[in-house]
């Protein structure tokens, strides 16, 4: 056995001795396999079980209380204007970084011709980026972003300003519903390389418990709810 295998065997056998079990026990194996297959839900807080429209209102309220700016855009044109306005209001260059997300690319960008684009993963000098969240959980105002060429993870962390677009129909009540959507999209028992729940702009309270925004990630998070 290599050292690696030996270390593995050492830890597992110590655990089995402590538990007074062997590695091959049908009932224990069945209990574990069953739980992994059924992945039963625990208690879902009542606030995460509301109607769609109440869920959207809760998401917006939670995000606002956690320091994000939120715009409700009934049409794609309004969403595009809201994205451009975010840069303008904060006196940023009218330049945005984004990935290959088809939904974002299909937005009517003619409504904001002044915007200049960069595509791909974020770079150090990028000031603002746009991502799409695949789902959001109203219960704590948490947007679910998944890694990949469509929405590179660095977009959410390197630039000072991050804009996230979420379709109203992708807002669900609780975390469990969001994960069920990911299971449908990416398969059961697997996840994309990174799933990031974002619930506000970057912050720290390490010094004297005083909250300061923009610790290492974005100082500003703007969420556009489309639909």
């Amino acid at each position: 056995m290599s050292t690696l295998d030996q270390d593995r065997a050492t830890v597992l056998s110590r655990i089995r001795i402590a538990l007074g079990v062997t590695g091959a026990d049908g009932a224990r194996e069945a209990a574990v396999a069953d739980r992994l297959r059924r992945h039963p839900r625990g208690t879902i807080p009542a606030r995460g079980l509301q109607s769609a429209e109440a869920g959207i209102a809760l998401l917006e309220a939670m995000l606002a209380s956690q320091g994000a700016e939120v715009t409700r855009a009934r049409t794609p044109e309004v969403a595009v204007r809201a994205i451009a306005d975010t840069l303008r209001v904060h006196e940023l260059p009218l330049r945005l970084r984004m990935g290959n997300d088809p939904l974002l690319h299909a937005l009517p960008w003619d409504a904001a011709l002044e915007l200049e684009w960069r595509f791909g993963a974020a770079e150090a000098e990028d000031r603002a980026a746009l991502s799409r969240a695949v789902a959001a959980a109203a219960e704590t105002g948490s947007l679910f972003l998944v890694s990949g060429g469509d929405n590179p993870t660095t977009l959410a962390f390197l630039p000072e300003t991050h804009i996230i677009l979420i379709r109203a129909g992708d807002i669900v009540g609780c975390y469990e519903e969001a994960f069920d959507r990911l299971r449908t999209a990416f398969g059961v028992g697997t996840l994309p390389r990174a799933v990031t729940m974002i619930s506000g702009p970057s912050r720290t309270a390490d010094i004297e418990q005083i909250i300061v925004r923009g610790a290492h990630g974005p100082k500003r998070l703007h969420v556009v709810v489309l639909g």
Partner: protein, 483 residues
């Protein structure tokens, strides 16, 4: 210390009493500690009040952990299969030294000159930074609090708020000294100034790092994911930008499914910082996939035992439910009075008093299980319902049974036990001693000093008995009809 090292090496846990005295006399520390009360306690109470299901979730969280611990071997194997299946590697580390060596070897294989780190108590526990630095690898802590203690050369004083013992003026001095190449006389007066400077300094490190090391708040067997919760975003930059991501986590961090993770996440931030949820909660699963334009090319997980499997088979198994939220520290009157460093152990407060003797051996932590007023608030606020006071008592019993408490303590307890087992003798002695003490104490009814009790009477008076024993008073009252 045998198994624990890192920030706790220089301050022996034996010096708890000295550390506590120093802490109580330290005016700057006392000012900083007010922030614990002002911040965490009120915020947790508010967050809990906004979630009516909190207590039910707490019961479920406890059940999840108990189930997982009872099947720990099988969940670790299931988790390992998933990590390998998505292109990552799992390394089992029986001891702290094994874990250090594995991480160093991985860094060397990656040709690493600069390593960035997210906040990780396990990495402190194994003494990772000095080990990497001794081999010529530069280590940059990126959590703001961890960055501050790294430049100060000290350990964290709180498991989720490493610099709760400092005021902004202390930190301004550290930055002025340690951040070279910046203009002299720049303003570091506000917390905003300090955060902005740390952001700029650490941004360079993020962009230049070869390897990123993070801990894990949870590991998920269903998907092979490691979960980190942060507010700053430093953990995500650490695990996204470098070409290798190393996760270092202890074996009890595992939960079965995403649903189980959801239940625990609902408890974690609310109990710790009092937030509904932290700003970022990231599930990392393996290295970058085909078509990804960012993310690490290699993903390794180091699973640390270091005494935990032994706890699993002992009366301290409940402690393995701990999710490191810090609520027991925040609500502990002893922690609130002296801060974390006085404990002389990496893990302070009630959770540290139970965990440290298990990891380092009771020889190295004898004072800790007694460093408590046993008020029980820690157990009350623990989101995993760990019976911390009774676990501390078990350590005290074990320590006493080993038979080497101080001679005076043993003799006194033996004498007391001898009398207590003989009611007539006990009452007889009580009837003599109580009036005697009352007479000696005089009109004031208290002692300013007493032989063998200088530690008590040094800071306060000892109230004296009023002259009659409880039994005498009870008899008198029942006779006169007052019950």
């Amino acid at each position: 210390m045998s198994r624990m090292s890192g920030g706790s090496d220089d301050a022996s846990p034996q010096s708890f009493k000295e550390g506590a005295s120093r802490a109580l006399a330290d005016a700057k520390l006392q000012r900083a500690l007010l922030n614990v009360k002002r911040g965490f306690i009120a915020k947790r109470a508010l967050a809990k009040s906004k979630l009516p299901e909190f207590d039910q979730l707490r019961d479920e969280g406890r059940a999840i952990k108990d189930h997982t611990l009872a099947h720990l071997d099988l969940y670790l194997e299931a988790y390992e299969r998933k990590v390998i299946g998505c292109g990552g590697s799992v390394h089992f580390a029986p001891s702290a030294a094994d874990a250090r060596d594995i991480v160093l070897r991985l860094c060397q294989d990656a040709g690493a000159h600069l390593v960035t780190k997210g906040k990780s108590m396990v990495s402190e526990e194994i003494g990772l930074n000095p080990h990497l630095e001794a081999a010529g690898v530069e280590v940059a802590e990126t959590d703001l609090g961890e960055h501050i203690i790294q430049i100060r050369g000290e350990g964290p004083s709180h498991i989720i708020a490493p610099v709760i013992h400092l005021n902004k003026e202390d930190i301004a001095e550290d930055f002025a000294r340690a951040h070279r190449g910046l203009p002299q006389g720049r303003s570091l007066a506000t917390v905003q100034d300090l955060v902005a400077e740390a952001r700029a300094v650490l941004r360079e490190k993020f962009l230049g790092a070869d390897v990123g090391i993070t801990g894990a708040n949870l590991l998920i067997a269903e998907t092979g994911s490691s979960v980190i919760v942060t507010n700053e975003g430093n953990g995500d930059l650490t695990q996204t930008l470098p070409r290798m991501h190393i996760v270092i986590a202890s074996i009890e961090k595992i939960v079965p499914t995403l649903e189980d993770a959801c239940t625990i996440l609902r408890l974690l931030a609310r109990s710790g910082t009092g937030q509904e949820i932290t700003t970022y909660t990231t599930f990392a699963t393996g290295p970058a996939r085909a078509g990804d334009s960012d993310g690490p090319r290699q993903y390794h997980v180091v699973l640390l035992d270091n005494g935990r499997s032994e706890m699993l088979g002992s009366e301290f198994r409940d402690m393995l439910r701990c999710i490191r939220c810090g609520a027991c520290l925040n609500h502990c009157p002893v922690y609130g009075a002296i801060g974390g460093h006085a404990y002389g152990s990496l893990y302070p407060g009630p959770m540290g008093a139970v965990l440290t003797p298990a990891l380092a051996g009771i020889d190295h932590a004898r004072d800790l299980p007694s460093a408590s007023s046993f008020c029980g608030r820690c157990e009350e606020v623990c989101p995993m319902a760990i019976p911390l006071p009774s676990l501390m008592r078990k350590w005290r019993e074990r320590d006493f049974e080993r038979g080497d408490p101080p001679l005076a303590q043993r003799l006194a307890l033996k004498l007391w036990a001898f009398a207590a087992k003989r009611p007539r003798l006990y009452h007889g002695l009580g009837g003599v001693v109580a009036p005697l003490l009352a007479r000696l104490a005089g009109a004031q009814g208290r002692f300013r000093s007493l032989p063998f009790a200088g530690a008590w009477t040094g800071t306060r008076d000892l109230p004296a008995p009023e002259g009659k024993t409880f039994h005498e008073l009870y008899r008198e009252k029942t006779r006169s009809g007052m019950r």
